[in-house]
């Protein structure tokens, strides 16, 4: 009797993956996308045992103009003890090639929009049942909203057609994780400021300054009133020792957001580097008034101020005065 109940539960669990009407049709209509897309020129790498990660990653990298063999990627992402590859390492491998790994927000129409823009999407799916989860990386290469199917390069199948609800169920169970590899300076189909800046900052943090600069510049054009892209651009300039450009960028960010303590802090350093330590102190003290008492960087600001005071400068060049006055046109 208990055995029949268990069997019924297993069957029900299998069937729920198939429920739900025309999800893709609604999504593509809602987002004004073409009724069907297939990225036929997307490379195909048939996976070997436990290597769906390298196969899927090689597929998106190849489509992004960086062809690579799955065997090469195995050394970069495969974890033998886990019999598979982990998401952060796939993202890291994209980043290490100077591409921008941009994580999508989790909606099917954003995924479809990326496909419509010509970019295949790396996805994680959770297949299997109950105590036997089977995690699997695949690459979405298209959809057909009339037939309500999603097309994938998956495993050893070059062109897998999955009914959209079935795809969505396995994708949902894997947290709706989806990533595209963007050329630096290219925006995604549905740009999200915070996700884009975060991805670009990560690129910057592993030393890919040229790529990060291009992407920050694209973000400045897309979101001209946002302080963070200008702050990021200024940090790239600082990393390159281009202190004049850095100071300009920090100043622009502060004009948009006077409470950006990070920009206030870094601008002080830039001014000091430009040979204007007195102005650096004055500007820092002046700007600190705008910083909230709970700001996590208050301690850093105090430290920077103390360091500037400790240098004991009593004079600086006349030109330095310009940095403290908006009307001044200092180089």
């Amino acid at each position: 009797m208990r055995c029949r109940a268990l069997a019924a539960v297993l069957v029900a669990a299998g069937l729920t993956a198939c429920a739900g009407p025309g999800s893709l049709l609604e999504s593509s209509r809602g987002a004004a996308l073409p009724p069907s897309v297939e990225l036929r020129s997307t490379p195909f790498h048939s996976q070997t045992d436990q290597q769906c990660g390298p196969a899927a990653l090689a597929t998106v990298l190849g489509a992004a103009g960086q062809p690579v063999a799955p065997a090469t990627l195995e050394r970069e992402i495969f974890v033998p003890g886990r019999r598979g590859s982990l998401q952060p390492e796939l993202v890291g491998a994209i980043r290490a090639r100077g591409l921008l790994p941009y994580e999508l927000g989790g909606s099917l129409d954003e995924l479809a929009a990326e496909l419509a823009a010509g970019r295949p999407v790396l996805v994680l799916q959770k297949q299997g049942l109950g105590p036997w989860p089977a995690w699997h990386y695949a690459v979405a290469i298209g959809y057909d909203s009339e037939r309500d199917v999603v097309l994938l390069r998956s495993g050893t199948t070059e062109r897998l057609e999955l009914r959209a609800p079935v795809f969505e169920a396995s994708w949902s169970r894997a947290g709706r994780w989806a990533v595209v590899a963007l050329e630096p300076g290219t925006l995604p189909a549905q740009p999200d400021l915070s996700r884009y800046v975060h991805a670009t900052a990560a690129l910057e943090s592993v030393g890919r300054l040229d790529a990060a600069a291009k992407s920050y510049q694209a973000a400045v054009r897309q979101w001209p009133d946002a302080p963070m892209p200008r702050f990021g651009l200024a940090n790239v300039a600082a990393a390159r020792g281009q202190w004049s450009e850095a100071e300009r960028g920090y100043r622009a960010a502060l004009k948009l957001e006077p409470r950006l303590a990070a920009a206030l802090n870094n601008r002080a350093e830039a001014l000091a580097q430009l040979g204007c330590p007195l102005t650096a102190r004055r500007e820092l003290e002046r700007g600190a008034a705008a910083i909230g008492p709970d700001d996590p960087l208050r301690a850093t600001l105090s430290l920077t101020l103390a360091e500037l005071e400790a240098r004991g400068n009593t004079s600086e060049a006349q030109a330095c005065r310009c940095y403290g006055m908006d009307a001044c046109t200092a180089p």
């Binding site: 894997a174 990393a239 301690a299």
Partner: protein, 124 residues
């Protein structure tokens, strides 16, 4: 406990001598840090990141990653990615095979057969 403290002090010394990989100067706030708005002081964040990095190195080695590859793999990850791996490397999703699906379906069919719901397997 004492050993862990010694490791922390050694790491602090090493980190402050090498400088943070995130910023050009010790006084600069990195973009990632500003974006992720860490509530810890910059110093503490640097130490935490160093500890997470060490943790991930050890776990990778324990999970069979080639020692020659570990440095490069760790270097390309952000501090928060390292923290995620340090915390969950053993249990987080590890994508490996689509082939398991066929196996699962087979297992389900066997179970259904055994409990008499279906009768599809030939008996000789």
């Amino acid at each position: 406990m004492i050993f862990r403290k010694a490791v922390v002090y050694a790491l602090c010394f090493a980190v402050f001598n090498l400088g943070s990989p995130l910023v050009a100067r010790a006084e600069l706030v990195g973009t990632l840090q500003a974006v992720e708005s860490s509530t810890r002081a910059q110093d503490l964040a640097t130490v935490s990141a160093a500890l997470a990095r060490q943790e991930v190195r050890e776990q990778m080695a324990a999970l069979g990653v080639d020692a020659a590859d570990i440095d490069a793999r760790v270097a390309r990850l952000t501090d928060s990615e390292l923290q995620t791996l340090a915390d969950r490397m053993g249990e987080m999703p590890a994508g490996g095979d689509a082939l398991a699906v066929i196996g699962i379906v087979f297992v389900v069919l066997v179970i259904l057969e055994l409990v008499g719901v279906i009768d599809i397997f030939k008996k000789t």
